[in-house]
């Protein structure tokens, strides 16, 4: 299942559907990095509301994704981490250090707009 990437103004929104395979995650990785450059996006939102598990592999992928997006001059916000998933991640010792997070899509967009305004 491929992840749809929507463009909204200066931002890209990728909504991850339930139970992605590793190949899908990697594909998303490359698609986003490419699109950030092509569309000159300033921010990327990754919506993980539908994900029921964020294991060490998925966390590592999200972290490297955010890192690559940053190297391309844009900011990543991960939104929609479910409370059960957040609890499990903490116990596993998984962190999303250096990546902004938001409760939902709306807050994620607000966060990106805020950081853009600060830069002006």
């Amino acid at each position: 299942m491929e992840v749809p990437i929507l463009k909204q103004g200066d931002y890209l929104i990728a909504t991850i559907q339930a139970a992605l395979t590793d190949a899908d995650l990697l594909k998303l990785h490359y698609a986003l990095v490419e699109k950030v450059g092509k569309q000159r996006s300033k921010g990327v939102i990754i919506d993980v509301t539908a994900l029921d598990v964020l294991d060490s592999f998925a966390t590592r992928t999200l972290r490297s994704l955010a890192h690559m997006v940053r190297l391309r001059g844009a900011t990543t916000v991960i939104c929609g981490i479910q409370p059960e998933v957040a609890f499990t991640m903490v116990q596993l010792g998984l962190t999303l250090e250096g990546i902004s997070t938001a409760l939902d899509l709306e807050e994620g967009l607000a966060l990106l707009m805020l950081s853009k305004r600060r830069e002006v």
């Binding site: 139970a19 395979t21 590793d22 190949a23 029921d52 598990v53 964020l54 294991d55 060490s56 592999f57 966390t59 590592r60 479910q82 409370p83 059960e84 998933v85 609890f87 499990t88 116990q91 596993l92 010792g93 998984l94």
Partner: protein, 136 residues
């Protein structure tokens, strides 16, 4: 152990299948939704280790009992290369691959009972049990 489910782990989609079985077994046992997420995550970590380090293996999932306590047992078994130093492998941040090295120590933190048996050249078996929280 009655009612076990066997899942062969040979590709990434098998991880998702095993996760779903674990959730269903857990749900039937009355685990909370947080515990169901924990169960799915445990399965994900040990199944991925099989894929990464042993290529193929097997998972056995099922209900288990200890006196009046009910819970789930999760076994991940492979005939891969084995782990030379288990103490080291259980350390946060230790990885021979590109991983975060959090899988095994994380799984131990997420379970009530954790056992790992590994022999170099023979394989690895991880067995974990998690009990349903009892209401007083």
């Amino acid at each position: 152990m009655a009612n076990e489910t066997f899942v062969t782990i040979a590709s990434v989609s098998d991880i998702i299948t095993a996760r779903e079985h674990g959730r269903n077994i857990g749900k039937a046992l009355g685990f909370s939704s947080t515990d169901l997420t924990i169960i799915a995550t445990i399965i994900s970590e040990v199944a991925r280790n099989i894929l990464l380090y042993a290529k193929t293996g097997e998972m056995i999932l099922g209900p288990t009992k200890n006196g009046t306590r009910e819970g789930i047992i999760i076994i991940a078994k492979d005939k891969g290369p084995g782990i030379p130093d288990i103490t080291l492998a259980m350390h946060d941040g230790y990885s021979t691959g590109k991983g975060l090295g959090l899988g095994l120590p994380g799984v131990r933190r997420l379970t009530d009972e954790f056992e790992i048996i590994s022999e170099v050249g023979k394989g690895t078996t991880v067995t974990v049990r998690k009990w349903v929280m009892q209401n007083e």
